[in-house]
Amino acid sequence: MATTLQPASRDGERPPPAPDEPGLEVDAERAESRRGLLIGLPSLVYLIVFFAVPLAIVFVYSFGARSRTGRTVLGEWTLDSYARLANPLVLEITARSLGYALLTTLICLVVGYPFAYYLATRSARVRGALLVLVMIPFWSNLLVRTYAWRVLLGSDGPFVRALEAMGLPTVQLLFTPFAIVLGLVYGFLPFMILPLYAAIERLDFSLVEAARDLYADGWQAFRKVTWPLSRPGVVAGSILVFIPSFGAYVTPEILGGSRTTMLGSYVVSQFLSARDQPFGAALSMAILAVMLITAIVYFRSGGRNL
């Protein structure tokens, strides 16, 4: 084994694998991974240019200092900005963002699961049509669609009008947590539905029949078989909804008010209005760390449980 696992680059130096050793398989695996690298190259370049490089810049900025005139001084390597993360305003905004994101994820799950289940159990034709319906919103810009919600939820909008017509007291919908969560659910629901659909579609329904055969009623069969087996979809969908909701910028900016600021807006304000780039960068790094940890913990706990 040890000999065959040495690097392949020493041309012809490798001894031929003994017949009962998996040498050929190792060779094949290596060739496979080389091919994989080649295919992955474009996206690797893309990731380096558009993700790793900007991330490195933000990383460097987060250790920068502010001069007395408000300019950013790099190369100081100070932890001042990180120390300021514990201030009450940041904590309040973080807690709020967390709350909105969790609520959004939960609502997307509750709304998306039945729909994904319905979708996955239709005939191929109906399925295709419904999938197109799920994806139609992507054909127009999120900004435009969110502005549409602003009109709909406004004090002259149909919802407020309808409530008034029913004799209920006038309520403020726009610029409330309700508007933000609604906007987030609206924006990210497809990210929940698609992985759920993929997971449920893969599910072997004879397992549900087996559960029913073994005296489970419909609900028990769902709880004991369908739900645990669709968990990978639940995990993937939840992460895909939670992460962008937590760092959302467009939706809270358009539908929220001054008392519903979320982290995304706060970070932007540090860069643009407060001109405190090191603090904004430190905030970004912290958010990134939180998301990374969330994703890892979540995947560890459920994603590979099958």
Binding site: S206, A210, D213, L214, Y215, K224
Partner: protein
């Protein structure tokens, strides 16, 4: 198999008392139609099926793929509902009852083991769903694990087991519930030949030990013949014949049954009277029939029931015989197959003969003239 049998606790699900002699399952005029694809013509999967399955028997549904076996089984299990007709289990109409309210369990074609549960939890599932007490569950799971010889693999996941072991888990998962009837849909289909043959024997012994009625679906005629007390042969949703394996094999009623089960010779003949028919070379054969004189019928006779003699030998008048010439000889090891064409007749009768390769059995060569003879009850008139 282990030295245990299922406890005498009655099936936990439905402790009903049926009068003695009540069929385990009674299918009465059941038809199942599926809507055709894209509004096309409806598919009749099962067509006016009537059948009584006796308590404690090993009953097989046999037929080619697509003949409606699975659909029949699924209607008994409650996964499909009949378009018309009635199904009773120990006298109780099961009509539109869901599967969880029927005293039957199923061994699914691809086992359908829960991939996220261990062997133990798979087996315990049915008892837990019936709210059986925990120590009772443990006791019965242990008992059935011993019965199917899965000891030591309790905490494995299904994908860590071989096909044969998975098959045992599926069996145990159903048997642990002490069902009154066990439904099995080609349970050995995924196993290789050697294992399949071993499991056939084991399954049959298990069924005898636990005394549960087995309804067994297969397209493998040999499997059905080996294991069953009775067999129902189906084709295109219609049941063609039901009976003991010997009866089905020796007295096939239709061309399809004769052909589907084993190898057979078919001869066209004309009815002479109620006890004899005449074939194309003018030979009169003693075959009992209830047809009108002069009608054309098909006579079937199995190749291994035929014997070969020299044409000049002394005639045994208790046997029916046809004079012919050997066209082809094939050595099969345990037997020798001959193809013989009658000397006269238009078209001449052609017969395949299979003689066991035992010492003292005379061999013939292609081109030789022979007499093909058999005991009269070996031949039977088909209905079609």
């Amino acid at each position: 198999m282990g030295e245990v049998s299922l406890g005498d606790t009655a099936g936990t699900a439905h402790p009903t008392v049926a009068p003695a002699g009540t069929p385990a399952v009674s299918i009465d005029g059941v038809t199942k139609r599926f809507p055709g694809p894209k509004g096309g013509e409806a598919v009749t999967a099962v067509d006016r099926l009537s059948l009584d399955i006796v308590d404690g028997e090993f009953f097989s549904l046999l037929g080619p793929s697509g003949c409606g076996k699975t659909t029949t089984l699924r209607m008994i299990g409650g996964f499909e509902y009949p378009t018309s007709g009635s199904i009773r289990i120990f006298g109780d109409e099961v009509g539109l009852l869901p599967p969880n309210r029927r005293p039957v369990n199923t061994v699914f074609q691809s086992y359908a083991l829960f991939p996220h549960m261990t062997v133990e939890r798979n087996i315990a599932f049915g008892l837990q769903m019936q709210d059986v007490a925990d120590d009772e569950v443990r006791r019965r799971v242990a008992e059935v694990i011993e019965l199917v010889q899965l000891g030591g693999r309790e905490t494995r996941k299904p994908r860590q087991l071989s096909g044969g072991q998975q098959q045992r888990v599926a069996l145990a998962r159903a048997l642990v519930n002490h069902p009154k009837v066990l439904l099995l849909d080609e349970p050995l289909g995924a196993l290789d030949l050697k294992l399949r043959q071993a499991m056939q024997l084991e399954l049959k012994q298990l069924q005898e030990r636990v005394g549960i009625t087995f309804i067994y679906v297969t397209h493998d005629q040999e499997e059905a013949l080996t294991m069953s007390d009775r067999i129902a042969v189906m084709d295109e949703g219609v049941m063609l014949q039901v009976g003991a394996p010997e009866e089905i094999y020796d007295r096939p009623r239709t061309r399809f049954v004769a052909d589907f089960i084993g190898d057979t010779n078919l001869m066209t003949a004309t009815v002479v009277d109620g006890r004899s028919v005449e074939i194309s070379d003018g030979t009169v054969l003693r075959v009992a029939n209830d047809r009108d004189v002069g009608t054309d019928v098909t006579v079937a006779v199995r190749p291994e029931k035929l014997g070969l003699r020299r044409p000049d030998g002394e005639r045994d008048t208790s046997l029916d015989a046809v004079q012919g010439r050997v066209d082809r000889v094939t050595f099969l090891g345990n037997a020798i197959a001959y193809e013989v064409t009658a000397l006269a007749g238009d078209p001449p009768v052609r017969l395949r003969v299979r003689q066991g390769n035992a010492p003292g059995v005379e061999h013939f060569a292609a081109g030789e003239e022979v007499r093909v003879r058999w005991v009269p009850p070996s031949a039977t008139v088909l209905e079609d």
